[in-house]
C-alpha cells in the first residue's frame, strides 16, 4: 500500500466544471498514491465521469488545478494525458465500430514491421496479442471481428484490453464491469489487483458495492458534483456508503 509521505500520482485541488447552467463539479480535492486503488462512487449524474474526463484531458476544468506525479499539468487533448501514463476505460467505451477488435485495442499504438524505410502494420502480431489479452479477461471475443457486430460485454472487453498495452502510472476505469459477465468481473478485479502490485494507481468507478469493497483501499463518494466522503475502506461500510450516495447521510 501507498506510503503517506510519497508523492501522489494524482492530486486535484478545487476542481470545478460547469456546463452552461449545470454545475457538474464543484471544489473537488483528492489525491491518489502510487499503487493505491481508489473507488469513486456516487449517484447517477454525480459528476464521476466528468471528473474522469477532466483528468484524462478530454474537458478542461472550469476551476482548479491538476498535478500529476508532482507537476501541474494542463492537458489540452487526451493524447497528452496518455503520453504521461494515464490510461482510461471510458464509460461509453470509445470504440470505432468499423474496425476490428484487434484494431481497436491497438488504436494509436499500432505494432509495425519495418521494410527498409517504410513501416507497415503487423496485423498478425496485433491479432495474436489481442487474443491473449481477451483470454486473460476470459472473454470470448474474436480479434478479427468488427466491433460493430459485438455484444455489449465483448465491446467492454475490448475497451479494457486497451489499458494493458502500456506501462501506465494511473488507470481509470469508468464502470468497467457494467456489461460483463460474472467470470469476467472476477478477471477485471484480478487485473486491478495485479496493477496495484505493480505500483500502478487505479481509480475504479462502479455502482457495484461488492466490487468496490473487494478491491479498493479507499472510497470517495460524490454527490451532485461535490465530494462528500473520502475514507479508507476498512473505516466504512456498504451501508454508510449507500447512505452517502443517496444523500440520507450528508457527509463523512
Amino acid at each position: 500500500m501507498a506510503k503517506a509521505d510519497a508523492t501522489p500520482v494524482l492530486e486535484l485541488t478545487g476542481i470545478g466544471k460547469e456546463f452552461g447552467a449545470i454545475r457538474a463539479l464543484h471544489g473537488v480535492d483528492m489525491q491518489v498514491m502510487p499503487g493505491e486503488v481508489v473507488g469513486l462512487m456516487g449517484d447517477n449524474g454525480a459528476g464521476k465521469s466528468t471528473l474522469v474526463k477532466i483528468i484524462a484531458g478530454n474537458f478542461r476544468p472550469s476551476h482548479g488545478e491538476i498535478r500529476f506525479a508532482g507537476n501541474a499539468v494542463h492537458f489540452s487533448r487526451p493524447v497528452d494525458a496518455r503520453a504521461v501514463g494515464i490510461e482510461v476505460v471510458y464509460q461509453d467505451l470509445a470504440l470505432s465500430d468499423n474496425l476490428t477488435a484487434a484494431a481497436n485495442v491497438f488504436l494509436g499504438r499500432e505494432l509495425k514491421r519495418r521494410f527498409g524505410p517504410i513501416a507497415l502494420l503487423d496485423h498478425k502480431a496485433m491479432a495474436a496479442r489481442a487474443l491473449e489479452l481477451f483470454g486473460e479477461l476470459r472473454s470470448e471475443t474474436r480479434p478479427d471481428d468488427l466491433v460493430k457486430q459485438m455484444s455489449g460485454g465483448q465491446r467492454q472487453a475490448v475497451a479494457i484490453a486497451r489499458t494493458r498495452l502500456s506501462n501506465a502510472r494511473l488507470v481509470m476505469m469508468d464502470e468497467p464491469t457494467a456489461a460483463i459477465s460474472v467470470r469476467q468481473v472476477e478477471q477485471v478485479l484480478g487485473l486491478i489487483h495485479r496493477l496495484k502490485e505493480q505500483g500502478v494507481a487505479v481509480m475504479l468507478i462502479s455502482h457495484r458495492m461488492p466490487d468496490v469493497f473487494a478491491v479498493c483501499d479507499r472510497v470517495i463518494v460524490m454527490r451532485r458534483g461535490e465530494k462528500r466522503a473520502d475514507k479508507p475502506i476498512h473505516q466504512t461500510s456498504p451501508e454508510e456508503v449507500t447512505a452517502l450516495i443517496t444523500g440520507a447521510k450528508e457527509a463523512a
Binding site: S96, A103, L120, L121, G135, R138
Partner: protein
C-alpha cells in the same frame, strides 16, 4: 501474479467464413462491379464498336481522367468529410502549371532569363537543363493545391468548420483566382518543354495510356497506405467514430489536415494531366466535376457517413460513369434521352448492391 488459464478460450459457435462472405464479395464495390459487368455485356450488344481496341483505350483514358481525383476524395470521404473544391482545384493547378511553364519559357521575361536563351539563329529557345522548366511548373501547380488543401484542412480540423461549407467556399475561391490570374482566359502550356509535357500526360506506353499507368500506381499505393499503415488505420478510425479516435490518442487534427491535402494534391495532379491532354487549361475546365468525382467514389461503395471506402471502389465508380457516358453515345441514343438514362443507370447500378443485403 500470472493468471492461470482455466481452459483456453474457444469459439465453438463460430464457423468458417466462406470466401464469398468476405472481402470484396461482401461489399458494395463487388456488387457494383457485377452491375458494371452486366452493363458491359449490354453495351456490347448495343454497339458492335464498344469492344474495339480504340474505344477501350478511349474509355481507359477518359475514366483515368477523373479517377485520380476520385482516389483523393475517397480519403476525405472515409474520414466522414467531403471536398467540393476538387473541380476548381483541377482547373487552378492546371492553369498555374501552364502559366509558369509559359512564363519561364519566355526569353525576354525576368523569370525566363534564368531558364532559356535564344539560340544563334535567333529563333530556337533552349532550356538550361532539359525538363527543369517542366519540373518547376508542375511543382508550382501542385504547390497551389498544397496550399488550398492546407487551408481546407486548417478550417475543418483546427477551426472546426463544416467540411461542406469550407470546401464550397474553397470551390468558389479557387475558381475565382483562376479567373483573376488568367484574366478569364485560361492558359496554354508553352515553351520548349511543352512537348515533353504532352508526352508525360497524353502519351501511351505499349498502347496503354500513361494516365492509366499513373492511376494504377497511385491506386496500389493507396491500397497499401489505407490497409497497412498506421495513417490509413487512423483515417478509418476517424470515419468510424471521431470522438473515440480522439479519446484513444489519435492525432485527429493532423490526420484530417493530411487527408484534405492529399485530396487537393490528387485533384491538382489530375487537373495537370487533363490540361496536358487538352493542350489548354481553360478557365471553365472541370466545372462541376466535383459532383462526378464524389458520385464515382460513392457509387463504388464509399460511404459519406465515413468509415468505408477504398481505391478499387473509386476506380469501379469512375469506370461505371464513363462506360455509361461512352456507351450511350455509341448506342446513338438521342441526346435528350441520354441524361435521363444516365440517371436511371446510376440508380440501377447501386440497386444491385441491395441483392446482397437481401440475400444475407
Amino acid at each position: 501474479m500470472a493468471m492461470p488459464m482455466e481452459s483456453p478460450i474457444s469459439f465453438t459457435n463460430v464457423g468458417k467464413i466462406r470466401w464469398w462472405q468476405r472481402g470484396i464479395f461482401a461489399s458494395q464495390t463487388g456488387y457494383v462491379l457485377l452491375a458494371l459487368a452486366v452493363l458491359l455485356v449490354i453495351m456490347h450488344f448495343a454497339s458492335p464498336y464498344f469492344f474495339t481496341e480504340g474505344n477501350m483505350q478511349n474509355v481507359a483514358k477518359n475514366f483515368s481522367f477523373i479517377a485520380i481525383a476520385t482516389l483523393g476524395v475517397t480519403f476525405v470521404i472515409i474520414t466522414g468529410g467531403i471536398d467540393l473544391s476538387v473541380g476548381s482545384m483541377m482547373c487552378f493547378s492546371a492553369m498555374i502549371t501552364s502559366m509558369v511553364m509559359t512564363e519561364l519559357s519566355a526569353p525576354g521575361s525576368p523569370a525566363g532569363a534564368l531558364f532559356v536563351h535564344m539560340a544563334a539563329d535567333g529563333k530556337t529557345v533552349i532550356a538550361n537543363v532539359p525538363g527543369l522548366i517542366l519540373l518547376i511548373s508542375i511543382l508550382a501547380g501542385l504547390g497551389v493545391a498544397l496550399i488550398a488543401g492546407l487551408v481546407n484542412g486548417f478550417c475543418i480540423a483546427v477551426l472546426g468548420l463544416s467540411p461542406f461549407v469550407t470546401t464550397l467556399g474553397m470551390l468558389s475561391i479557387v475558381r475565382g483566382l483562376g479567373y483573376v490570374v488568367s484574366n478569364g482566359r485560361g492558359s496554354f502550356p508553352g515553351g520548349p518543354d511543352a512537348d515533353r509535357f504532352y508526352a508525360l500526360t497524353s502519351g501511351d506506353v505499349l498502347g496503354v495510356p500513361v494516365p492509366f499507368i499513373y492511376l494504377v500506381v497511385l491506386a496500389l499505393t493507396m491500397a497499401v497506405v489505407l490497409h497497412h499503415s498506421a495513417f490509413g488505420r487512423h483515417v478509418f478510425a476517424l470515419g468510424g467514430n471521431e470522438k473515440a479516435a480522439e479519446l484513444t490518442g489519435i492525432p485527429v487534427v493532423r490526420v484530417k489536415i493530411e487527408v484534405y491535402v492529399i485530396c487537393a494534391l490528387a485533384a491538382g495532379l489530375q487537373g495537370i494531366i487533363i490540361s496536358g491532354w487538352l493542350g489548354s487549361a481553360p478557365a471553365n475546365m472541370a466545372t462541376s466535376y466535383e459532383l462526378n468525382v464524389i458520385a464515382a467514389a460513392v457509387i463504388g461503395g464509399a460511404n459519406l457517413a465515413g468509415g468505408i471506402g477504398g481505391p478499387l471502389g473509386a476506380i469501379v465508380g469512375c469506370v461505371l460513369l464513363e462506360v455509361i457516358r461512352n456507351g450511350l453515345v455509341l448506342a446513338q441514343v438521342s441526346s435528350y434521352w441520354q441524361q435521363t438514362l444516365v440517371g436511371v443507370i446510376i440508380i440501377l447500378a447501386v440497386l444491385v448492391d441491395r441483392i446482397r443485403s437481401r440475400m444475407s
